[in-house]
């Protein structure tokens, strides 16, 4: 799993870099726009120690944001699983709020909370949380009729049992979504850093952008890819573990 995902990423990265260099030499673009390969390597070696630290900083926020998103999505999803007025209200609110591009709210968060850790975390959670919530809500609102029928008919059904049945029956789908949302958490954190933070790899990319330093951006992308791949592998492993335990 580790080798496959890493090889896939590195292959894509090398292809994209080759494409970029092909564009440079094909269109005769200046070194200022796309630096030559050796320059990219030199800059890469130079900034790598700093960028790795920045990526780890970003990754730690993303992991925290992802964990909070998962907890929130499952808690709210369970609340929305029933047929009560509160459940209906939660569902309607969730569907309406998620239709708004949440990243547009980010400047308000930065104005209110400044550009520290909390702002990055909140934006990361918001970007990751809503798609996750919709899936969890969809899964937990859908009856598993051939199992629930008996419990409903004989009066044994309760909210807890209903949630348990639906989660158990859809454990594969839920773990897949949880794994998929890990990328969203990373995206959310980088976006928040890119907008107005003073730390993390998103902030480093913003600085490199202002300097029009393509080599630094390419290096940042390499380490973002490596870190994201490693995190996805970890989440996939946890997901598989849960899936195997539940299915055993």
């Amino acid at each position: 799993m580790l080798r496959n995902r890493m090889v896939q990423f590195l292959l894509l990265y090398v292809l994209a870099l080759a494409g970029l260099l092909g564009l440079k030499y094909g269109l005769g673009l200046s070194d200022y726009i796309i630096p030559p390969f050796l320059e990219i390597c030199r800059t890469g070696l130079d900034v790598t120690p700093r960028y790795v630290a920045h990526v780890l900083n970003t990754l730690s926020i993303a992991i925290l944001g992802h964990a909070i998103s998962l907890l929130l999505a499952f808690a709210i999803g369970m609340l929305a699983a029933g047929k009560s007025a509160i459940a209906a209200l939660v569902k309607t609110a969730a569907y309406n709020v998620q239709s708004y591009p949440i990243v547009a709210v980010a400047p308000i968060i930065f104005i209110l909370l400044g550009d520290g850790l909390l702002s990055r975390l909140i934006i990361s959670v918001m970007i990751c949380y809503f798609p996750l919530l919709l899936t969890v809500m969809g899964v937990l609102s859908e009856p598993v009729e051939d199992i629930e029928h008996f419990y409903r008919m004989t009066g044994h059904i309760c909210w807890g049992l209903q949630v348990r049945v639906r989660m158990f029956e859809n454990i594969g789908k839920l773990t897949t979504v949880a794994v998929g949302s890990a990328t969203m958490a990373m995206v959310g954190t980088i976006v928040s850093e890119f907008i107005a933070s003073n730390a993390g790899i998103g902030y480093s990319i913003r600085v490199a952008l202002y300097q029009s330093d393509m080599a630094k951006i390419i290096t940042a992308l390499l380490w973002i890819g490596v870190a994201t791949s490693l995190y996805l592998i970890l989440v996939e492993w946890i997901g598989n573990l849960i899936h195997r335990r539940v299915a055993a």
């Binding site: 051939d146 199992i147 029928h149 008996f150 419990y151 008919m153 004989t154 044994h156 348990r164 049945v165 158990f168 539940v246 299915a247």
Partner: protein, 232 residues
């Protein structure tokens, strides 16, 4: 007074082109083991769900007298997969019915399944386990929709006679395509026909056998079989 009385029942599925029931009328006069019989698509399951209160929106009268609890079970039901069958059965069995559960497990041949997960059982075992958990519930009427599908004929006969002997005061509506079984073990047989045929339901009397042994002359069974065949 009949336990189930159906008068002038009309029903058409919202997406259906033609009516399923047109002036359907029948009665189940007493408790005991009865059958709803008919070709596929004549509305046996729909009628069962109406009796169980799962399906509304029909016109006419469908009255259940002297029976508060009506359960409907079908052969596609599953048990959750997080525990073994024995534990799941015990969890849903009322304390008063523990002895019945033990007896049913033995009669239905379920001892070997108790420590397995439901998904690992054969189709016949699944149906027997599912039926068992319904039988230990406090019901007045139990509608068994193909509940013994995929169970071998000998075991089916044993199960049917055992149900009749343990629960003589309850009412069962057995839906099956097995004409011999229905003729032999059921007391009242409601044959549902297509809505083009009137009356749409024909009520016949079965042999209501209490044991797996062949009861009475074979001509009696042949007589019931002929009546059902003629009615359908």
């Amino acid at each position: 007074m009949p336990i189930i009385r159906c008068r002038n029942l009309h029903y058409r599925y919202p997406e259906g082109d033609s009516p399923l029931f047109e002036n359907l009328q029948f009665e189940i006069r007493s408790r005991g083991f009865h059958a709803i019989f008919g070709h596929s698509g004549t509305g046996k399951t729909t009628l069962a769900r109406m009796i169980a209160g799962e399906l509304n929106g029909f016109e006419g009268n469908l009255v259940i007298e002297g029976a508060k609890t009506v359960f409907y079970t079908h052969n596609m039901e599953r048990l959750p997969g997080w525990a073994d069958v024995g534990e799941l059965l015990r969890t849903v069995t009322p304390t008063a019915a523990r002895n019945d559960l033990d007896r049913l497990i033995e009669t239905f041949g379920l001892q070997a399944c108790l420590h397995s997960r439901f998904a690992r059982l054969s189709l016949g075992q699944k149906n027997r386990v599912n039926l068992t958990r319904y039988l230990v519930q406090p019901f007045d009427i139990l509608i068994m929709d193909e509940s013994l599908a995929n169970v071998d004929e000998t075991t089916r006969s044993i199960i049917l006679t055992e149900i009749k002997s343990i629960y003589p005061d309850r009412c069962f509506l057995y839906i099956s395509h097995n004409m011999i079984e229905v003729s032999r073990y059921c007391r009242e047989i409601v044959v549902i026909r297509s809505p083009q045929k009137q009356p749409q339901a024909v009520c016949l009397t079965g042999m209501d056998a209490m044991s797996t042994d062949v009861v009475g002359p074979s001509t009696a069974l042949e007589q019931v079989l002929l009546e059902i065949a003629h009615a359908t």
